[in-house]
């Protein structure tokens, strides 16, 4: 188990009191490294948002028939 996997398991155990239930859990937890990389790739695309974000408002703004 590498340092990242050890850190993830320790974090989940300490913060939630949950231990890895099986080998697939350990394997899939190790893939969180890919999640971090995906977020890293998006850095620089975020703008400072002056207005509260609303997904429901976006649905209305982009709905069928909206102009």
């Amino acid at each position: 188990m590498d340092a990242f996997e050890t850190l993830v398991e320790a974090t989940i155990s300490r913060w939630h009191g949950i231990e890895p239930p099986n080998d697939p859990a350990r394997r899939l937890a190790s893939e969180l490294a890919g999640t971090i990389e995906a977020f890293e790739a998006l850095r620089g695309t975020l703008a400072f948002e002056d207005e509260p974000s609303s997904f429901e408002a976006a649905l209305q703004a982009t709905k069928e028939g909206a102009r």
């Binding site: 949950i18 697939p24 429901e56 976006a58 709905k63 069928e64």
Partner: protein, 475 residues
């Protein structure tokens, strides 16, 4: 009247209303198939036949008495076993809820009942609606009625399999990452994920409150249109449900596609796609072109953001729902369920909030670019030929099985983060005799357009009328 179980939902409802058939006739036709085939398919996990027969007789009496009838009068139904009915079993597909009897009734169940339908069974599903395959360690795997060793798709596995096997005319599913569209595709039926917020989720088992959707699986797009007309609309008991007016979706299905602009993504959705699946989609496009549509192919924007953000929302939201059981009884879950939930506990709050706060801006940017070029998007629902249950069995398979497992939902998950309506309709068969699905996605609250395109396609094709060979000569 013969072949009653083969009727579409709209035809069955119209037959009862006109006196051409009785509700009792429909129920018995469905049960004949269920008794013959369910032992091999395992789509139905509990039944209430006596109560159903009583409901059918009451429905028939109402027809005889010339009472005002609802749109679904006298139609027997069975649903994914996660829609609460007060006092009735609702297992959520899990040993942890095998005896659970909720005190409330889901709004969608109440609305279907108000339209004249009744429920006679609970359907198999992925544990807590969390797999795209149909595996279930408590109630047994659900098997594809077209080819038993193959996956049904999930998580609404019993919903897809039961409608395909003519056990019922319609089943509710739920869709958090594709769980309506995947079993619709794999089982050769029609399944609609509405726009996020379009249908009330009150009384439906929660998985991810940002991505969960309630919708129908049925034989045809027209069936889905009628059901959506019944179940859509604001519900005070679900404050997240939209106040958008509900049209008659069925009335808008005019089959005229002149002027329709279809977009076909050139990125992501065909990556690693199997040739039979691509060929089926291309053939379907020709059908739509013959109806007057035009096709353009272009790259969809922001798909990296959609994948990254969408990938963590469901996991982060499912984690706290299951935290107590994950601490106290983790082995009660299938390994693929607890194993996939486990990383959710390590997702930082800042990532989750970033994913949620970017959802609106991403949708706006996506819609501005995509819907300036196309009215709907068309893709395969599942981009590969169907895998078997064994090939996707994380609990018993070798390391790496999880990648085959997750690939099943690669084409459906993006539309959950974006919140867009999408339907899957059958468009062919793979070399193993398993159905192939065509996914049609539209703008927010554009279910009418999506259903119109799907209905026009089904007006010129017969894939949705094919019946699994396992049914043999059963009526």
């Amino acid at each position: 009247m013969t072949g009653l179980a083969d009727l579409s939902l709209t035809r069955a409802a119209d037959a009862v209303a006109s006196g051409e058939a009785t509700s009792v006739d429909l129920l018995r036709a469905c049960w004949a198939n269920l008794d013959a085939v369910n032992p091999r398919v395992n789509a139905v996990i509990w039944q209430e036949r006596e109560a159903a027969e009583t409901a059918a007789r009451v429905a028939d009496a109402a027809v005889r008495d010339k009472q005002k009838l609802g749109l679904l009068h006298g139609v027997p139904m069975a649903h994914k076993d996660m829609y609460y009915q007060a006092g009735k079993l609702s297992t959520c597909g899990s040993a942890l809820r095998k005896d659970f009897r909720p005190a409330i009734t889901a709004t969608v169940i109440a609305r279907l009942a108000a339209a004249g339908a009744y429920t006679f069974a609970g359907l198999n599903m992925a544990e807590f609606a969390q797999n795209p395959t149909g595996h279930n360690k408590t109630f047994g795997n659900c098997h594809n009625p077209w080819n038993l060793p193959y996956i049904t798709g999930g998580s609404s596995s019993g919903s897809g399999a039961s409608v395909a096997a003519r056990f019922n005319y319609m089943a509710l599913g739920s869709d958090t990452g594709g769980s309506i569209r995947l079993p619709a595709s794999a089982c050769g039926v029609s399944g609609l994920k509405p726009t996020q917020t379009r249908v009330s989720r009150y009384g439906a088992m929660p998985l991810s409150f940002s991505h969960d959707n309630v919708g129908p699986l049925a034989r045809t797009a027209r069936d889905c249109a009628r059901i959506l007309t019944v179940i859509a609309g604001h519900d005070p008991r679900d404050p997240t449900s939209a106040r958008e007016p509900v049209p008659s979706y069925e009335a808008a299905m005019d089959d005229d596609l002149r002027g329709l602009r279809i977009g076909v993504p050139t990125n992501v959705f065909l990556d690693g796609a199997d040739e039979p699946v691509i060929a089926a989609m291309e053939a379907a496009l020709l059908v739509l072109i013959a109806r007057g549509a035009t096709v353009s192919r272009f790259e969809l924007p922001l798909m990296d953001a959609v994948a990254a953000y969408g990938g963590i929302v469901s996991r982060a939201e499912a984690a706290p729902i299951h935290a107590e059981w994950m601490r106290s009884d983790p082995q009660a879950y299938g390994a693929h369920i607890s194993g996939r939930m486990y990383p959710g506990y390590a997702i930082p709050a800042a990532y989750y909030i970033e994913a949620l706060s970017r959802r609106g801006p991403v949708l706006k940017a996506f819609a501005a670019e995509v819907f300036s070029k196309a009215d709907v998007l068309v893709t395969p629902t599942i981009r590969t030929c169907l895998p078997t249950l064994d090939e996707t069995d994380i609990d018993h398979g070798p390391p790496g099985t999880e990648h085959r497992f997750m690939a099943v939902s690669a084409n459906t998950r993006p539309f959950n983060y974006l919140g867009l309506p999408a339907i899957s309709v059958p468009c062919g068969f793979d070399p193993n005799g398993c159905p192939i699905g065509l996914q049609i996605a539209g703008r927010p609250f554009g279910e009418g357009r999506v259903l119109q395109v799907a209905g026009a396609y089904q007006a010129d094709t017969g894939w949705h009328q094919e019946r699994p060979p396992i049914l043999g000569a059963v009526a």
